[in-house]
Symmetry: C2
Subunit: 297 residues, 2 copies
């Protein structure tokens, strides 16, 4: 089955899917340049490079269900592990996913077909002063509805108020053409990136939205592009500056414990992880977000 | 509210709760003795000792909801981290837990009161040749039903068929007075201790049972005691022997990656973890099962 077979919104789907790949390529280029720069505690380590591999969604019925690529950088000078997944998948929702989505999306109860494309990245830096970061944007389609979703949030092991301020100011500026949108998405992120069983936020927040369908696909796609394009200016300067800052074993321990919280959030609460595991996407790709090393002392 | 306030099965509840504490004390004594013995790669490390702290269940309504103790050994010669939680909690099930349980237990839909007592332990050894292990047994009570549940399973990072054989043979012998019980519980463990998204078992199995109510509380309590009493003979000789075996960095990496799978199972699939986090029990106590250090390379 061709993902565009039914023709509905074929052009929009193709444009969204292509844009997620372009964004991935720009981020890869920027991070590989970052790897060439100063990095405290990285003497003797070569600049990291991304390796790409194909990923497949495994549909229960065995038919073609789409897939994507996973770009993974391991053991770099600045980046200890960073995964960027881009995938375009389609098929029929499993019973559990269908039931969960039918509560939000009219029509899904009657027709379980879906198509989804998106980019998802998580960066776990080596230097504990460099903040970990997450970005995810996607387009979702069912025969009765389409919508965009996504967000980005900063997860420093050691918090610097000026870094948090820069990250948020950049996102606020990127969303300025949409009045009220930054405030709404920041509040949504504060609510979403929260670890209930720990009674705390997983990081210092960011922006988040889901179910975005204003009725104007072009306008909503522009909003999603603005979020994706804000990612590098929001995070990269922080990474460049903090990568040169010396760190010690106590900093490292704080980082590993903080990563434990990150793993807890992703495995217990994250909507994308749950959907990915439940819908049969490549587990290695879904779980590339997990930290290279984490501690529960 | 006194956990025995309604008087129903007060003597049985008290005996079960007391027995879980006795089992905990015996295991602590045995592991602290194990810590005095040979341990490869532990030069200069002092024998570990358990530290006990009180844990509380936090009921939404703020009333006394029971609690327990968490015994934690960190950074020992043989044991890198081992937690043994014993708790006796009571109150009313939250809406989600009530709905989930009502499907299995008639009467829960009408009356959400519950009482539960149990022991739960996980051991993450330092030496990658020593198998990690888990034990959990509990009594659960609602106004309309009581039952026992639990199990134990072996989680070696590096598998030795003779260790697996000893573990299973000891459990089989312990359950010999209950014809068919070992085979039934082994099959249940194979089904339960499985990581669907990885398509693999989390370890080399063991035994598992839930909803045990034969109508004869004394007989079922005896079965649960037999499982608890089999734990030390099943695992301790393996730990003693393997702790003396030299290990290297490659062994350590295998261990840390295997621990990542263990964390995934507990955070994504484990019934006890989900119940604990959803019912407001101390998150540190519920998550003491997480490995001290884990790797997702």
């Amino acid at each position: 089955m061709d993902p565009m077979a039914d023709g509905a919104m074929a052009e929009q789907k193709a444009r969204a899917a292509a844009w997620f790949e372009q964004l991935r390529d720009r981020i890869i280029a920027a991070v590989e340049t970052l790897e060439e720069g100063p990095a405290a505690g990285a003497d003797g380590i070569a600049p990291g490079r991304f390796a790409l591999r194909r990923t497949r969604r495994h549909a229960p019925e065995g038919e073609d269900a789409g897939g994507g690529t996973m770009a993974l950088l391991r053991g770099g000078r600045v980046v200890e592990k960073m995964g960027i997944g881009v995938s375009t998948v389609h098929g029929r929702l499993g019973a559990a996913a269908q039931a969960a989505m039918a509560a939000r999306v009219p029509g899904v109860a009657e027709d379980a077909r879906f198509w989804a494309s998106g980019i998802s990245l998580v960066c776990h830096p080596r230097n504990p002063h460099v903040p970990a970061v997450h970005l995810n944007t996607r387009m979702f389609w069912t025969p009765s509805a389409w919508w965009f979703g996504g967000g980005t949030d900063l997860n420093p092991a050691i918090e610097y108020p000026e870094d948090t301020a820069h990250f948020h100011a950049t996102l606020r500026a990127a969303l300025a053409p949409w009045p009220g949108e930054y405030d709404r998405q920041k509040a949504w992120a504060d609510d979403y990136f929260f670890i209930p069983h720990r009674g705390r936020a997983r990081g210092v927040g960011g922006i988040f939205l889901d179910d975005r369908n204003s009725g104007d696909w072009e306008a909503d796609f522009a909003l999603i592009r603005a979020i994706g394009e804000a990612f590098l200016p929001a995070w990269l300067p922080l990474a460049q500056a903090r990568a040169a800052q010396p760190w010690d074993e106590a900093d490292r321990t704080r980082q590993l414990v903080h990563r434990g919280l990150y793993a807890e959030f992703n495995l217990v609460w994250d909507r994308g992880t749950k959907f990915g595991l439940a819908s049969g996407h490549d587990a290695e790709a879904v779980l590339m977000s997990l930290p290279p090393l984490a501690m529960w002392p």
